[in-house]
Symmetry: C2
Subunit: 453 residues, 2 copies
């Protein structure tokens, strides 16, 4: 089920003022923009590409509503802009081409996740939406891959919707978390919209709504005999475990949500086993992240599955990526290549391809090269996914994307996948791309009669 | 303009399994839940309440669609739940009462931002949405108040949509940032939906689309003579300033976006003034936050306005709040008061009021008390805003809320408002509330024959 159509006004105002200026000056040249993360945050050694499906939904349905056009015309900034521009906007659709990394592909700093080639106005206006759609899901899928790896085969359920950045961020976080390896989500809308398995049973409030904790457990167990996960920490965790044992209930699972999860899980496991309940699983939650999970497992915690909320749905330790969308090529002027030379923010010119090398079953190095370069023995990662404004193929199902992401993640070098003593994955620019940047730098400075500096 | 109706499935699955269990067990008692932040993150000394308007929109329009009901019935977890429950859901509307802090009110840890009193099923199901709506905007408004205070009277424009957590988080972040004191946003949808002033002019790509930087400036200036903010750092910042000066352009403003903003702003100011352009303003952006802004101003930067993106739209240094929604009272069982005693997560029982004391024109202390308590000389903060599922009054306009927030912020003690050497604002629980917690703790442990521990 696709999203409802998004407003074309989900963009920054300057995309539209620039569009007006391109229109006024009759600049309709085809331009290429690349979306990439400048550099990985210190807390990450890899990213997992995600959000492409929503980005393509948006491009395929891009359109201004007449109320939106009216709003724009009333803005003081547009007072000097001719009516023709607004007529043009009214009929505007996205007609361009998109190359992208398949969702689930590991990706590193400077590597394009997406390239848009379209008439410059179209390519410009979609910048803000594409950045927010791709950046957010990529950030969450990346975090999920780390958390899932730390859980070492035990299922991880995403349940951070309540702390996600607004009600609509929850389903997107759930999608990205599933893509990154989670077994499911608590978010029901994500279940319906994206077909993700939904999980969840009871909260402290249910236990508290009854005078007696055990009565709450009995009533829940009776209605959901196959699914009940009884939350045992409302008052006293081990006392609640004992109540369950002595009551004759045989819950599918119990959930620990506070206290020393390692010690409580071991003691709960011991008591359950001794009482003949070896099949009752132990589910743990409560401010968990990849480091907490790794530590719990290292200390021998008897935990069968994890619920991870805030750390996952907000990528709490690294809640933003330095993603940008940069003009690299436009068929206008003396050269079509474009680059930016601000001292601390250089961007490389021209349409690019990312080539990934393997050695001994593992990925060994990436080379960011000009689109037209060949790179023997390496796999080109960017694929054409949209042409003339339409998808080339139906998107793969989310379970297939998850499986692809899992296989790709396993091919990363161990030093890049682990949590401690990590080593950066090697990424370099091709010699030809480096040379192109230098040529352009000279070309750019020449007309103004300045030396490079 | 209100949001489109939100799906009732924007919730956690356990809200619905609990609802089914309440329904099955005929538990329809009226319950009260309170939404509060457990404690302020170390990076914050106050919060600014926000998001209430969206929360109330949601409650007023709450309704399951028939496709949503069908989806739920197909979920394995509901296989044992009778048809009557789904018929009940189909007709369900929110009929309860809400007390809340007005948007813009400063708020601290443990203080309820919102209290919902409704039949327990209604009050339970809305938990997830209310948490995500209120938590996110409160977090962003709080960050905005800090950033705006650091700018010491200079306008701050929010332009972080591209890094917000998904495309829909952008307009909400813009709303909250405006409420917290920003002068406007770059997000056009936020402008249309919430009436927020929108700002923005040109990006590096516009400059790069032309062979010559000055040609790009001229064309933009020609179309937007009153509004153009010329971005000067695409190639060489001061060289671009010189080009502008020698061209005869008299732009309203220039924008610095990289490099040493303090030195560049001073030198740009000097050159503009010397060239007879004292009215051309200097706008600065580029990974700014409240600390960077304070430092720039402390070193004498000649900056007239700031653009703040990622740090604001993601509350990057503190991207989550420990917000919870806790059952405090339900008309069922031996006592109606409810509290949770997990060692590290105690919640206080009963419906509460927050009383705020003033001394010498400043707020001096808050007391969290039982709803029925009187607190001479203090102002009660929670107000009834919704009754029988309908708003009591139309919400105030956003500019009024911004002005209220500004005045309230100014009444906080200076040690709580500043960035360094801060002191926590004093908040305590009333003696009666403390006593109630202890009574309940004993009552709760008595039936099980255990001593408190």
């Amino acid at each position: 089920m696709p999203w409802p159509r998004h407003s074309a006004l989900l963009t920054d105002l300057y995309e539209l003022t620039m569009a007006a200026a391109y229109f006024e000056n009759n600049l309709r040249a085809t331009a290429s923009f690349e979306l990439f993360v400048r550099s990985l945050p210190p807390e990450r050694t890899f990213l997992v590409a995600a959000g492409l499906d929503q980005a393509l939904d948006y491009l395929e349905t891009f359109q201004f509503g007449s109320g939106e056009i009216d709003y724009l015309r009333q803005q003081p900034v547009f007072s000097g802009v001719k009516r023709e521009f607004f007529d043009y906007l009214r009929d505007l659709r996205f007609t361009g081409e998109v190359w992208a990394l398949p969702e689930g592909t590991p990706v590193f700093g400077e590597e394009p996740l997406l390239r848009v080639t379209a008439p410059i106005i179209e390519a410009q206006i979609v910048e803000t939406f594409l950045l927010s759609a791709i950046t957010f899901q990529t950030m969450i899928a990346s975090k999920a891959a780390r958390v899932v790896a730390a859980a070492a085969g035990r299922p991880v359920i995403e349940f951070g919707s309540r702390r996600a950045h607004g009600p609509e961020a929850g389903p997107l976080a759930a999608r990205a978390a599933f893509l990154g390896g989670c077994a499911g989500t608590s978010n029901v809308e994500a279940g319906m919209r994206f077909g993700i398995p939904v999980f969840g049973t009871l909260a402290h409030s249910f236990v508290m709504a009854y005078d007696d904790e055990l009565e709450a457990f009995r009533r829940f167990e009776q209605l959901f005999p196959e699914h009940a996960v009884l939350l045992v920490d409302t008052y006293d965790t081990l006392a609640a475990v004992d109540k369950i044992i002595h009551s004759g209930l045989r819950p599918k699972s119990i959930r620990l949500d506070s206290g020393d999860l390692c010690q409580l899980s071991k003691e709960a496991r011991r008591r359950l086993d001794a009482a003949g309940l070896p099949e009752t699983k132990i589910f743990a939650s409560g401010d968990l992240d990849e480091f907490a999970i790794a530590e719990l497992l290292a200390c021998g915690a008897e935990i069968d599955a994890f619920g991870v909320g805030t750390a996952l749905s907000t990528s709490k330790d690294s809640p933003a990526l330095s993603s940008v969308y940069k003009l690299v090529d436009v068929a206008a002027g003396a050269t079509s290549y474009r680059a930016k030379f601000s001292d601390d923010k250089v961007t490389y010119p021209g349409r690019k391809q990312v080539f990934r090398f393997q050695a001994g079953g593992s990925y060994s190095e990436d080379v960011i090269a000009c689109e037209s370069e060949k790179c023997d023995g390496a796999q080109p990662l960017l694929e054409c996914v949209l042409r003339s404004g339409r998808r080339i193929a139906a998107p793969p199902g989310l379970p297939q994307v998850q499986e692809y992401a899992r296989r790709e993640f396993a091919k990363l070098p161990a030093a890049c996948r682990r949590l401690h003593h990590v080593q950066p994955y090697p990424v370099r620019f091709s010699a030809r791309l480096q040379a192109l940047l230098e040529e352009l730098r000279e070309h750019n400075h020449a007309p103004a009669g300045k030396s490079a500096g």
